[in-house]
């Protein structure tokens, strides 16, 4: 029976894909009704957490609140989500402020009907049939889904990695480059590999720091 339910849920959920327009929605949040299009023109991090009033989620909300000014500086808004009511969200964010001294500045979607969670494939029945996993969706100013992170219920996300991801995406857009493993702002970036033999021969004469024709870096 349980197997049948999981199969049915699997068939019903959609998974968003990188490089495509992020699924549109209208949702009730702790700051009123918002639509995805309200964020157009700026970057958006849409993220989900399993449930209000749980310890790992509380540490994550405090973490997101901590990096909020840094995200704002980069033109990024935050939008949280879980399958809880607005009243529960309000009570929880008030509790975080009262007990932990941290004000939650971003809106949180009350996705009681799981509409947004289903659109974005946030519910993974193998983990929980009722709670959203720890998902992060980075949506660019044109409304294109640029990155996704999925973490299990037991593991809190790394806020510095989220900032690093935003920096990497914005650097890629601004300079038309890629970023290597463990890249941090200020470090050398990857020059896109040449597409023809002629360009490959040319590449080695262009003054980049090259290990070989396909692997060249440069400082910005």
């Amino acid at each position: 029976m349980e197997e049948k339910i999981i199969t049915e849920i699997k068939e019903a959920v959609s998974m968003p894909r990188l490089g495509e327009p992020a699924p549109t929605f209208e949702a009730t949040t702790t700051q009123g009704v918002v639509r995805l299009e309200d964020f157009k023109g700026g970057w958006l991090i849409l993220f989900s957490h399993p449930a209000d009033f749980t310890p790992v989620c509380t540490t994550e909300f405090m973490g997101f609140a901590e990096i909020h000014p840094e995200l704002k500086r980069r033109g990024v808004e935050l939008l949280g989500l879980s399958v809880d009511s607005v009243s529960s969200h309000i009570a929880w964010v008030r509790n975080i402020e009262e007990k932990m001294g941290v004000k939650i500045p971003f809106p949180v979607i009350a996705d009681l009907d799981k509409k947004v969670a289903t659109l974005y494939g946030m519910i993974h029945p193998g983990e929980s049939k009722t709670e959203t996993a720890r998902c992060v969706f980075v949506i660019d100013p044109e409304g294109i889904l640029r990155a996704m992170i999925y973490y299990p219920l037991t593991t809190g996300r790394n806020m510095q990695e989220i900032l690093r991801l935003i920096d990497a995406l914005q650097t890629t857009d601004k300079h038309k480059v890629a970023t290597p493993a463990n890249w941090k702002p200020g470090e050398a970036v990857i020059v896109p590999p040449p597409k023809t033999q002629e360009m490959a021969e040319q590449r080695l004469k262009e003054g980049y720091e090259c290990k070989d024709w396909y692997f060249c870096k440069k400082k910005l």
């Binding site: 700051q31 009123g32 009704v33 639509r35 299009e37 309200d38 023109g41 808004e77």
Partner: protein, 73 residues
């Protein structure tokens, strides 16, 4: 951003937004003048359009007679 309280008065943030649109203005300009995030301005203006407090004129927004009365009241 629900803009109208149960008693019909404006919420503080709605009052700030409505005060900023006494003459035709874009959402982006309202965000700049109020210091509120653009998504909140768009959400708020949409709600105030539905409530008849704001009207759209050539891609700009301006408070209606009802909207102006709410600010003054």
């Amino acid at each position: 951003m629900p803009c109208i309280n149960e008693d019909g008065t404006l919420t503080p943030s709605a009052r700030a937004v409505l005060s900023a649109i006494s003459s035709p203005i874009t959402s982006e300009e309202v965000a700049k003048s109020t210091g509120l995030p653009l998504f909140r301005i768009r959400s708020s203006i949409r709600e105030m359009l539905e409530a008849g407090l704001v009207e759209e004129k050539e891609e700009k927004y301006v408070a209606t007679k009802l909207g102006r009365a709410k600010i003054e009241g």
